[in-house]
Symmetry: C2
Subunit: 234 residues, 2 copies
C-alpha cells in the first residue's frame, strides 16, 4: 500500500470515530469494534487500523488493553489534559514553544479562570476541594516534592470553579508541560523554608479573594504569585 | 511482552527523545535513528519502537516518510497546532469539551492576543500579512468557503503580532477544533450577503484598532465580533 493510500485509510477511521462521537453513536465507556471488523468495514489493512487506534490513544480518546476481561479491548475514554499536556511538553522541549510564552499563557489563563471563579455559581462542597489542599500545604513537615504536587492540584481545583472545562484542560496541559521546570526550580531554590512561607501566604490570599467573590483581587494576586515564582525560577 | 513492559519500553523512547530535544542533541530537521537501531539501543521490540514513533507523529514532533530519498525516514518537525487542534476536535466531538466552553476560551485567548498585539513591537511587514487577508476579503465575488478560510487566517495573523507562540498555537488549535461548526454555521446563515457585510465591517474595525495601537478597543471589538457570530451560530 502506498504511503498516500495508507494515510487516507487511517484518516477514514479517524473521521468515522469523530462522526460517531459527535452523533452519539459512540459514547464514553463504549468499546470500538475489533481490529478485524474495522479493517473489513473500511477495506483497509489491519496495520492501518492499528495506526489509527494508536493515534486515538495518543489523543486521549481511547484506551487499549489486551486480554479478554471486561476491561479489555479499545474503550472510549476522555483524557484531554494528559494528551495535550504531553504534546505541549514535547514542543517545549524542542524549543519551539518558549518557556516564557508558556508562563505568559498560563498567567492569562489562570487570571481569567480566577476572575470568573469568583463570580461563578459553585457550591460550598466545590470550594472545599481547594480548601482541603490549601490546609494540607500548611503542614510544616511536608517535603518540597509533596508540597509541589498539592500546589499544582490547588491551582487546578481553584480554576475549575470557573466551570469552563476547556480552560481547565488548558491549565492542566500547561502545568504538565512545565512540570519538570517547576520541580527543578523548587530544588534550585535552596532556601526552601523561606520560599514555602511566601507560597503559603500567597495561596491563602488567592483563596480568600475567590471565596469572598472578589474576582479582580483574585486575578491580581494570582498574577503576582506566578510572576514572583517564575522571577525566581527562570 | 506484557502490557506493562510494553508501556515502559515505549515511555523510555519518548523520554529519550524529549531529553535529546531539550539538550539540543536532536534538532528540527534531524533524522531519528532507524527502527532497528532504536530497538537495540533500548533493548525493546521493533513494534514498541514503531508505537513510540507513531505517538511522536501524532503529537506533531516527527514526520515519517517511507522510501530512501533525502526526505525519507523519521524527521524532527514542529507542528504543534495541527496536533493539538486535532486532539481538541476529537474531545469536542465526544461532548467532553462543550462548544460553549471552547468559544469562551477562544474569546479569552483572542482578546488577550489583540490587546498585546496592539503594543507589541511588530514591523510594518508583519502587519501587512493581516492587511493582505483583510483586503482579499473585500472582494464581493468571494465564495463563502474561501471567505471563511481567509477569515481564519486573518484572525491568526493578527493574533500572531502579540509575539507569543503558545497563545498563537492555542488560537489555531481552537480554531481547528471548531472548524466544522464554523463552516456549518456559514452554510446555515442563509442570508450570507448580509452576514458578510457585518463580518467585513468588524474585521476592518479590529484591524484599524490594532494598527492604531489601541489594545483596549481591539480587545473589545474582537469580543463583540466573536459573540455576535456565535450568537447567530450556536
Amino acid at each position: 500500500m502506498s504511503e498516500f493510500t495508507a494515510a487516507r485509510a487511517h484518516d477514514a477511521v479517524l473521521r468515522h470515530v469523530e462522526e460517531s462521537l459527535r452523533s452519539g453513536a459512540l459514547k464514553l465507556g463504549d468499546r470500538l469494534p475489533g481490529e478485524r471488523a474495522l479493517a473489513e468495514q473500511f477495506a483497509i489493512s489491519r496495520a492501518s487500523v492499528r495506526n489509527a487506534i494508536r493515534a486515538l490513544e495518543v489523543m486521549g480518546v481511547v484506551r487499549s488493553a489486551t486480554g479478554s476481561g471486561p476491561n479489555s479491548g479499545t474503550i472510549v475514554v476522555s483524557n484531554p489534559s494528559s494528551a495535550l499536556g504531553g504534546a505541549l511538553r514535547m514542543h517545549v522541549a524542542s524549543h519551539q514553544l518558549p518557556l516564557k510564552d508558556i508562563v505568559e499563557a498560563r498567567t492569562m489563563t489562570e487570571t481569567w479562570a480566577l476572575e470568573h471563579a469568583a463570580t461563578a455559581p459553585w457550591t460550598p462542597e466545590q470550594i472545599d476541594d481547594a480548601r482541603r489542599l490549601l490546609e494540607a500545604m500548611d503542614d510544616d513537615g511536608l517535603p518540597s516534592q509533596i508540597f509541589t504536587l498539592l500546589d499544582a492540584q490547588f491551582h487546578v481545583a481553584l480554576s475549575a470553579l470557573a466551570g469552563n472545562v476547556v480552560v481547565s484542560t488548558m491549565m492542566e496541559s500547561m502545568r504538565e508541560a512545565i512540570r519538570d521546570y517547576i520541580s527543578d526550580a523548587a530544588v534550585r531554590q535552596g532556601a526552601w523554608e523561606e520560599v514555602v512561607h511566601v507560597l503559603r501566604a500567597h495561596h491563602h490570599g488567592i483563596f480568600d479573594a475567590v471565596e469572598a467573590r472578589d474576582g479582580v483581587l483574585a486575578a491580581r494576586l494570582v498574577r503576582e504569585h506566578i510572576e514572583w515564582f517564575y522571577g525566581k525560577a527562570i
